[in-house]
Symmetry: C2
Subunit: 976 residues, 2 copies
């Protein structure tokens, strides 16, 4: 049972690949300790020993139980010596702060190398009891002290056993209070703390977890240290020794003479940290001899990162990293490395598993047959259809429904309001609600990826605006024209599905996505500001108002007949502008005009007629307030105040909360600010249209043919908008199990175009942000995770029910009209400004534009800056800026309507960039397009990609583990 061996490391069992050791003298130990040296190609004996231990493991053993490590210190109290827990580990260290009532934040345990060396001596000189058969603490103590009778005299043994059996000290000060306090309580002993309190920390541990206790302290009767390492044959519960009621497996005891308590504590920490190491845990489990443990320690030493003295403050606590490579990976890398070392290969360290390719997936492969992709999609999804409903039976889905419902109606209100604005209410809020509800439900029932949420999106809104003004300019009937376009788009859509065009999305690289997104964001920002300025025109302020002259301001109705000169001098500018929405772009209803004015045909006369007091300035206050409030509430998630759940809730509902708050303010003030226009009955917003659009009548017959041209543009737009979202939603990092359905999704979108065009409802495609939020709210995560460790992401609840319920609720919400009419337009503009700014901030392009303003030494440590020269980064940014400027100019001129083609041209420009930039640079600044030209380039690409993969692995996992806010904000507005 007791394995006492000489100090030098024994011969290893797996020495077959040893090639001779050239080390001499005292460096022998170093060679034992370090696994491979530049001076010898041999594997060290420690490494060999470990390799042998790990290879011995049966496959069933692989999953060793989670180990909870606690450090008990021997403290002298009024009642004599007592043990007290002062630190604990699962993955990271938490220590009890001075004052004893607070656990520190989890942090990376920084040790002194010295303590590890001392620990090594402890393991060499001390007692090591492997597979001790004992079932109670007194039994364990007795065996531990009597293991080396030749060293420890009987009276010392008694003293030692007495110290070991001292009761753990209960926290003497006060009973834990609820709330804040209960988190700080140190659970100690079942007679003191309730079972519930124990449970609080227990939930961090998986069932079957085991405990390792490290006991250190100084006693007056010892002359030299007494170190014991014990592994129990069977894990047993050792009563109040441990914080949690889990069975104990390992014990490490270090008692020693006085005046070195600090040193014992540090050695105890070193042992505890060692026991949290996954590789050492395996060795501790499998060890047959004392030397196995020492070999494990040596291997641990070999892998240490060290920080030089005097360059770093050891009292700084290093926070746990956001993502860590899995321990299994590390261990298998070890095995591979040792193996390859035997074969004389040294590149093992670079041999990381390749990251998931974000853009190419099995679903996008071409079959070469007509509708081949679609058929595959239907086959793939059909077998999940039943489970798409049964999988929704979880409480999480309920909260997802509420969240996504609110997000959906927010979108319906804001986009509906903007669409109404853009099309003189040909499509308004009511149409937006109806369209969203109808298309959304259909899509959820029949689509390939029901996790995506259909919504109005920025690009479509921009196009509708262009289409409406085009129709106005050429005297066409907008809705009829649009109907033909929609029908053609559906036709082209079917053709694209038939030819499996979805596989082309692989050519939409980051360059294209960002150009797309930046343009739309800028349009949102520009439009919301322009709207506010037009409000100021619609409600003019008398800047020259003087309170002294209060009696000089008046406005009377002159009924004496129209006089040209009088009209031009005192024309009521704001009433005129409010009459024609095309001037001020504001659709105030006609009945808001002064009644006696429209009845009599008279003219307003006076100095105050052309001014409306206060409304413009209040609108600006509401606008600014909404923007700031949205931004602040959105950021509230990362503040320190209040519990995480509450913060997340506030942040997630920031927009709806802001709208509510500012509507309340506006209503309380009572000023006549311009409001959202919603019909109170279930009839089209604009009374001049019906529910069904007739294909002929208002326009010349040949319009149905001419609409092919705009239809091509819309097809490009819809295709890009839909497919980029689909790619993002179906990314491998989301761990979807039921597969994607690019072709089926696009088929649904195309067919829905027919219905929406016929009924004059808005067009819908998948919206990125809301879809990501939907997935976010359906995340499955591992519940038990060590303090400081990020919970593991397990996948998404893939089902159709949440989406379906959301859209049914949206449909019911049509009856919200009496509430919606209280929403002031400046508040909606503020929300749109916020959306535009957030979307613009979320893209790497914006980061790179910012770099232009930063001195090199203040630039953040972006990975691409480590690999691409700054001048190339700036050149790339300049080209993107140039493209954006050209797009903006095109959008602003008469050629505006061709802008979808220009967006597509971005793909070509990106292709052309390959002449200017090396593939290496592009791989950092952008993605790589498939089949990048010649064979030579391909080889180059492959080489560079391999190099990149070692980083990309870290990068992609970093993306995965990013807090959800940045995950969601990738493209708000669904602008790509």
């Amino acid at each position: 049972m007791r394995a006492k061996a000489p100090g030098t490391a024994g011969t290893a069992p797996a020495a077959q690949c040893r090639q001779g050791n050239s080390a001499t003298g005292s460096s022998e130990l170093l060679h034992t300790m370090i696994s491979h040296s530049i001076f010898s190609s041999s594997t060290s004996s420690a490494a060999e020993r470990i390799s042998a231990i790990l290879q011995q493991e049966e496959p069933g053993d692989r999953k060793s139980p989670l180990l909870f490590v606690q450090l008990n210190e021997l403290l002298s109290t009024a009642a004599g010596l007592a043990w007290r827990e002062t630190a604990r580990w699962i993955k990271f260290e938490e220590k009890v702060e001075d004052g004893g009532e607070r656990w520190s934040k989890p942090h990376v345990p920084a040790l002194r190398l010295h303590s590890l060396f001392e620990l090594r001596t402890c393991l060499q000189e001390g007692t090591v009891l492997l597979d001790l058969g004992a079932h109670t603490l007194p039994h364990v103590a007795e065996k531990a002290v009597s293991a080396q009778p030749e060293v420890w005299e009987p009276e010392l043994q008694d003293c030692l056993a007495d110290v070991l059996l001292r009761q753990p000290l209960h926290r003497p000060t006060m009973a834990p209070l609820p709330g804040v306090w209960s988190q700080l309580a140190i659970p100690h002993g079942p007679d003191f703390l309730s079972f519930q309190l124990r449970n609080r920390f227990k939930k961090k541990l998986l069932p079957g977890a085991e405990v390792a206790s490290v006991l250190v302290g100084e006693v007056d009767f010892l002359k030299k240290p007494f170190p014991v390492f014990i592994r129990l044959r069977e894990a047993v519960t050792l009563g109040s020794l441990t914080e949690v009621a889990f069975p104990s497996r390992f014990l490490f005891i270090l008692l020693g003479p006085q005046a070195k308590a600090k040193a014992y504590y540090e050695i105890g920490r070193a042992m505890a940290t060692l026991l949290t190491d996954e590789l050492f845990q395996r060795i501790a489990w499998q060890a047959k001899h004392q030397e196995d443990l020492i070999a494990g320690l040596d291997e641990f030493l070999d892998e240490l990162a060290v920080l030089p003295p005097g360059k770093w403050d050891p009292s700084d606590r290093i926070p746990p990293p956001r993502c860590l490579s899995s321990p299994d990976k590390r261990i298998s890398m070890h095995l591979r490395e040792w193996k390859s070392r035997c074969n004389g290969n040294t590149t093992a360290a670079k041999d990381r598993p390749s990251p998931a390719h974000l853009h190419t997936s099995e679903e996008l492969e071409r079959t070469g047959r007509l509708f081949g992709g679609l058929i595959r999609d239907i086959r793939r999804k059909a077998r999940w259809y039943r489970s798409d409903f049964s999988d929704a039976m979880h409480i999480q889905c309920l909260s997802a429904v509420l969240y996504i419902y609110l997000a959906t109606i927010t979108n319906a209100i804001t986009f509906g309001g903007m669409l109404g604005d853009a099309t003189a209410n040909m499509q308004g809020v009511l149409e937006s609600f109806l369209g969203t509800a109808f298309t959304g439900s259909i899509f959820c029932l029949f689509s390939g990826q029901p996790l995506t949420i259909l919504s109005s999106t920025g690009p479509v809104l921009v196009f509708e605006r262009l289409l409406f003004s085009f129709s106005e300019d050429y005297g066409l009937d907008y809705l009829e024209f649009r109907l033909w376009i929609g029908l053609w788009v559906a036709f082209f859509g079917l053709a694209l599905v038939a030819t499996e065009a979805s596989h082309l999305v692989q050519y939409f690289t980051r360059f294209t996505e960002e150009g797309f997104c930046a343009l739309i964001s800028l349009i949102f920002i520009y439009d919301s500001l322009k709207k506010m300025l037009s409000l100021a025109e619609a409600f003019p302020i008398n800047w020259h108002y003087r309170a002294d002259d209060v009696t000089l301001y008046s406005c009377t109705c002159n009924l004496s007949g129209p006089g040209e000169c009088e009209l031009s001098a005192t024309a009521p500018a704001h009433t005129l502008s409010r009459q024609s929405p095309s001037t001020a772009d504001l659709a105030l209803p006609a009945e808001h005009l002064p009644p006696h004015f429209s009845q009599s045909g008279g003219h307003l006369l006076g100095t105050s007629c052309q001014y409306v007091p206060d409304i413009a300035l209040l609108s600006f206050l509401l606008f600014g307030g909404t923007f700031l409030c949205c931004t602040t509430l959105k950021r509230f998630k990362s503040s320190r105040y209040f519990p995480t759940g509450l913060r997340k809730l506030v942040s997630d509902f920031s927009i709806i909360l802001t709208i509510l708050v500012f509507c309340a303010i506006d209503a309380a003030l009572g000023l006549e600010t311009p409001k959202l226009l919603v019909p109170s009955e279930l009839k089209p917003t604009n009374p001049m249209r019906g529910w069904i659009i007739f294909p002929f009548g208002a326009n010349p017959w040949w319009i149905c043919l001419v609409s092919v041209v705009p239809a091509i543009l819309v097809t490009i737009l819809i295709f890009m908008d839909q497919q980029i979202t689909a790619v993002i939603v179906n990314r491998k990092e989301h761990k979807l199990k039921k597969g994607a359905g690019f072709h089926l999704d696009f088929l649904c979108v195309s067919l829905l175009m027919i219905v929406t065009s016929v009924m004059g409802l808005p067009w819908y495609v998948s919206a990125t942000v809301i879809s990501l939020a939907h997935m976010e709210s359906l995340r499955k995560e591992s519940t038990a995770s060590a303090p400081g460790e990020q919970p593991e992401f397990l996948g998404i609840r893939e089902q159709r029910l949440t989406g379906l319920v959301v859209f049914i609720l949206t449909g019911v919400s049509v009856f919200l009209a009496p509430i919606l009419k209280y929403i002031p337009m400046p508040v909606l503009y503020g929300v749109f400004l916020h959306m535009g700014v957030v979307a613009l901030n979320s893209i790497q392009f914006t980061d790179r534009v910012r770099l232009l303003l930063m001195p090199a030494k203040h630039q953040p440590d972006h990975l691409y800056l480590r690999h691409v020269p700054l001048c190339r980064v700036h050149l790339f940014t300049f080209i993107q800026l140039l493209c954006l400027a050209v797009l903006w100019v095109i959008k602003s001129t008469a050629a505006a309507i061709v802008f979808p083609v220009m967006l597509l041209a971005l793909v070509g420009i990106r292709k052309a960039l390959e002449c200017i930039f090396s593939l290496h640079d592009l791989s950092w600044l952008d993605n790589i397009m498939p089949a990048a030209g010649s064979k030579e380039a391909e080889g180059k690409l492959q080489r560079k990609q391999e190099e990149q993969e070692s980083y990309a692995d870290e990068e992609s996992s970093a993306i995965l583990f990013q807090p959800t806010s940045s995950g969601v904000k990738i493209e708000l507005l669904g602008c790509s």
Copy 2:
């Protein structure tokens, strides 16, 4: 010359305190490497050796030259093998990023322990040439390769020499551009880069610096590694080998067989990091044998901090810490530790030098004689008087003058405006300018600490407001009453100087300061908001205005004679309120009233008479905009954009910039917002007063006696305000050489009270923030500091000239009146809100209030939270909140005028807290008061303080090295 020794460490020369080594077997090496073990009380041979080396040092050698370390790697290029610099160190590591055109940010070099072990083997196995006499690189190379002829055959020697003499590779891509680019250039070889570019990095190095070059690489002709360590006898310039044109002292060469380039690179990094260690540098300088170097490495190993594998991402670059303990301290600690270890004492690690006591200084000691302190002050300062002018001859003083001048007039404008507001223009902006200029100049000429700047401060402003409303309420003449108070205050002030009362400031602990500051900040916030609401009352908005009814709104002047009923129905509320400043607290001039109204005595009639459009809302926009703009510009300093100098400039001038911007906006809009009132001629702001206040006449004669009571209050206020600032300014951490003059300062302030009271100017005391800003702008810092290292603070340019010039300029600025009258009052209120919020945010009390809202696990890692239980922290905060509430209530009731006494009562409450809190807790949450009660308590205190000092050392240096923003913002407004 060549010291080749066997692998085992030799016997140490200083072995007299060795007590026997109990280690056996392979742990022998560990005992050689680690300096003291729990298993033996002996000092390790490495430690003994080092101790001997360090003690050998002659005192003159102490200052070893700065060492610049660079790592050259052997890379294969198109033109064959070439050396290229890929990393460099002064204190921290900077590496060349992939792409080769960018230096990384300086970071703490994290090594793998493995490489250090390998380096140890290199030093053991390789050639070590100490004091090599060679003057050129070929000479060095020849000696290096021929040092071990028995190992390296002649043809190998030739190959090695050939490789070593390869020219360093010049950066091939492009010539550096100016601006951003030049910072990225890698200076390589004098034929390529201009001298100026070299200089860019050179200025980081002190004259006399030396270079250590580490050369690593793989070559095809070697079968085993070739490591050489060289110390040159005389430092020689080795041409283009080094980046900077400094002489080289050390070279470390490691060439080896192929396929292990990564390992050589890591060993090279380990060597370079080792060479940046101050302790190792000394040893490398003094080393006589190879073993000395190895002992130095072992000592380095022993002090390492290590991070366990798998818990931390090694690609994370750890930023340099803000403050580091000085290397000298570390080395002397080592010496002490070894010495104490020989004496069996183990507490050496705790023996840190005690920090400066912030509150007790030599200047505050009592002499026990009348005016004893004052006489000492005058004696102390007199001998510096001449140098107080000659020391100002530096360009830095010019920029300090400009900066402090702008800050002073900003203060004069804002406080002048607020004072005018509070006292119905009895003291206005003009008085503020004159008073500031006069008192400031006098103080600069005669005070004890001319670095402090006199200014109006928050507490005085609050008191003046109370005094004015008291005078109004009791029908007293404000200025005459105030004159008597001022005279009494001066008298009490003299008495306080005579009795050396300044030594009492030691009782003003953080508790008192924070109570004081929090109250004033809250008053500022509350007042600015109240002012804005009263503006809204003064310019009422017609919330029920309907644009449809535009013809119904009018206002006409009814001259038919005063009719009671008509007046009450349509009374122009805003004109009434503007007439009486006491109602709306707004001092609009009488001539702004409607002319025909005041002339005719008629009444305004109509629905629009009582409303003023737009002005209130625009005021709110200006107010909010000013606040946000101030806050944003202030924070701009810590943004990443634009060079540091520009950011600092914008941040320092944030308030004046904001005022300018919003004045411009207001002027451009042209609306009649309420403006700052400044007389255009050099006469008192209020035309009802003269320049000299007569002591009798307006008030009853006994007022001169009654004013003793308020005078006591003002004396308390002035004393607290002045002395707390003086203590902060004279803190030891500012390294002032000419000493303080607390008594002399207070004498000046008291005497100036007489002048300001007689002339009806505001009262002045030292203002904390502006004084700290003054010192900040006169900081002397060491110029050369290693990348990543903070520059060393050397002291302050202590002189009287900058202050004097500032105040003379302020006096000249009286003629700015035509410009000042464009400043809208809402902008000033915005500035005051900003000041209040900043001051409130700067105190620890606010941090603790925030803790109440935070879940324990999200709380920041404040030092006091590590040491005081959270419930005690909360209790302390609650008590402070309670005190604040009581102060607020007192301030708001009729007893308002006694609030200075209540402030003083805080000192008593603080004293009483010692019954509730332990001195340990108070020492973390507050400062310790002198003579804390009984002997027992004192002993306790001392013990606790000792404990604290080990941390306080870190803390105080952290405070010292904090970015200036937080230093300055300690108490904006000079509110304590």
